[in-house]
C-alpha cells in the first residue's frame, strides 16, 4: 500500500464505514446496491458487524421499565399469524447439527425391511424434552415417524407439518398417535414436496388443528436431509 495522502480505496474499509454508518446517503445507497450482487462485500459487512457488536456487548445492561414491554406486547397483540414464505425456509445452524446427530443415531432405526428412507428430518425442542425423527421412503411413499423422547401435553396432541421449499403455508402430515413409532403412506403429491422441505411439530387440541394451520405452539422444526 502506498503512503499517498489520498483516502485509501478498499472494499473492506468501505464495508466498515457502512457498518459504522459513516457513509453519506448517496454512498450508502450505492453501497447497498453493490451488496445485492456482491457476496464478498456481504461477507465483509457481516465480519465488521460481528466485530463491532462485541464493543456494544460490553456496554452495561440496564433493565428497561416494565411499561415498555406492556406497550410492545399490546402493539403486537393484533398482528397476524405468520404465513410469509421466508419463515418456512427458516433453518437454524444448530438444527443442522442436531439433524446430523439425529440421523446418525436414528437413521438405522428408521430403516426397516420395507422401509428405505431417502429423506430424514430430526426435530428436537430446545430443552430436549421432545424428539421426533421422521423419514420418507420415496419408492412406496411410506413415511415413518419415531418419537424417542417426549409426549403430547396432557389433553393435547402433537401434529406434524410439512413446509415445502418456498411454500407459503404448512401442510398437515397428520396427528401423531400415542405409539412411539408409526408408519403410514402419504399422498404422492405430498411426498414430492419433502425434498428441500421442513418438518414442524406443533401442540394442538385433540383431533388436530381445526384450522388447517398450526394453532398451538410450534415446538420444533427440522429440515429434511437427503440420506
Amino acid at each position: 500500500m502506498s503512503d499517498a495522502p489520498e483516502i485509501p480505496q478498499d472494499d473492506s474499509a468501505l464495508a466498515a464505514e457502512y457498518v459504522l454508518r459513516l457513509l453519506d446517503a448517496e454512498e450508502e445507497r450505492a453501497f447497498e446496491n453493490r451488496l445485492l450482487s456482491d457476496s464478498d462485500l456481504r461477507d465483509q459487512v457481516r465480519m465488521w458487524e460481528a466485530k463491532f457488536a462485541s464493543l456494544a456487548d460490553a456496554l452495561p445492561e440496564t433493565t428497561p421499565p416494565a411499561s415498555v414491554k406492556v406497550r410492545l406486547m399490546d402493539k403486537i397483540a393484533g398482528t397476524h399469524e405468520r404465513t410469509g414464505s421466508a419463515i418456512w425456509r427458516w433453518l437454524l445452524p444448530s438444527a443442522v447439527a442436531l439433524a446430523v446427530i439425529g440421523f446418525l443415531a436414528f437413521g438405522p432405526l428408521l430403516r426397516g425391511p420395507d422401509f428405505d428412507p431417502a429423506y430424514h428430518a430430526s426435530l428436537i425442542t430446545a430443552d430436549g424434552s421432545l424428539q421426533i425423527e421422521a423419514g420418507l421412503s420415496p419408492d412406496n411413499n411410506l413415511f415413518k415417524v419415531l418419537r424417542p423422547i417426549g409426549d403430547a401435553r396432557p389433553g393435547r396432541v402433537l401434529e406434524i407439518w410439512l413446509i415445502a421449499e418456498g411454500a407459503d403455508a404448512p401442510v398437515s402430515l397428520g396427528v401423531l398417535p400415542e405409539d412411539r413409532e408409526t408408519l403410514f403412506e402419504i399422498d404422492p403429491d405430498l411426498a414430492a414436496l419433502i425434498e428441500g422441505g421442513v418438518m414442524a411439530v406443533s401442540d394442538e387440541p385433540p383431533g388436530g388443528s381445526p384450522t388447517g394451520a398450526p394453532t398451538g405452539e410450534v415446538l420444533a422444526t427440522g429440515e429434511f436431509f437427503d440420506v
Binding site: A13, R21, L59, P60, W90, V218
Partner: protein, 180 residues
C-alpha cells in the same frame, strides 16, 4: 441470559409468530439492548421508544435472522444499534446539532450477560489498542456513539477529508490485525 442455542430457538419461534417465545426473548435480551439504546441516545425516554422500535423490528424480521449468518446476540445488537442511530440522526436533523453529552444513567454491568465470547472482545480491543489512541477512540465513537465524520473532524479539529483518511487507514490496520 440464556445460551446461544436458547436465544436462537426463541428467535425461530418468534419468526413463527409465537408471542410467548417473543416475550421470553424480550425478557432475556432487553436489558442488553436497552443498554445499547441508552448509550447511543443518552436520553431515557428516547431510549425506551427506540427499544420498542427494536423489538417491533425483531418481531417483524425474525424470519430473516438466519440468512444474516450472525450469532443471535450480534444480530440483536446490530438491530438495536442501527435503530438507535436512526433515531439519533433524526433528532439531530430536527433539533439541530444539540450537544447531548448528558450523564449516562446509572447502569450495572450484567454478570453473566456477555453472550458474545469475551475472547472475541479481548481480541478486538487488543487490535484497537494497536492503533493510535485517538484513532481507536474515533472508531469506537463512530460505533458506540454514532459519530459522523463531521462530528469526528470537529472533535479532533482536523479537516473532514483528513479524518476520513485517518479512519480508513485505521480500519485497514484493524482488519489486518484481526486477520492475523
Amino acid at each position: 441470559m440464556q445460551s446461544r442455542a436458547e436465544v436462537e430457538h426463541l428467535i425461530a419461534k418468534t419468526a413463527l409468530g409465537d408471542k410467548s417465545a417473543f416475550s421470553v426473548l424480550y425478557d432475556a435480551t432487553s436489558a442488553k439492548l436497552f443498554g445499547v439504546c441508552l448509550h447511543i441516545l443518552k436520553d431515557r425516554t428516547e431510549a425506551e421508544d427506540a427499544l420498542q422500535d427494536v423489538y417491533l423490528r425483531i418481531w417483524n424480521k425474525a424470519d430473516s435472522y438466519a440468512i444474516t449468518g450472525h450469532s443471535p446476540m450480534t444480530w440483536l445488537i446490530t438491530v438495536a444499534r442501527n435503530l438507535a442511530i436512526d433515531r439519533l440522526r433524526a433528532r439531530k436533523e430536527t433539533a439541530g446539532d444539540l450537544d447531548t453529552a448528558s450523564e449516562l444513567p446509572d447502569a450495572r454491568p450484567g454478570p453473566e450477560a456477555a453472550a458474545i465470547a469475551s475472547s472475541e472482545l479481548r481480541r478486538f480491543e487488543d487490535c484497537l489498542n494497536e492503533l493510535k489512541s485517538e484513532h481507536a477512540s474515533a472508531v469506537k465513537g463512530a460505533y458506540l456513539n454514532g459519530d459522523t465524520y463531521l462530528d469526528l473532524s470537529e472533535r479532533y479539529s482536523v479537516p473532514l477529508n483528513t479524518m476520513r483518511t485517518w479512519l480508513r487507514r485505521s480500519l485497514l490496520k484493524l482488519k489486518d490485525c484481526l486477520s492475523r
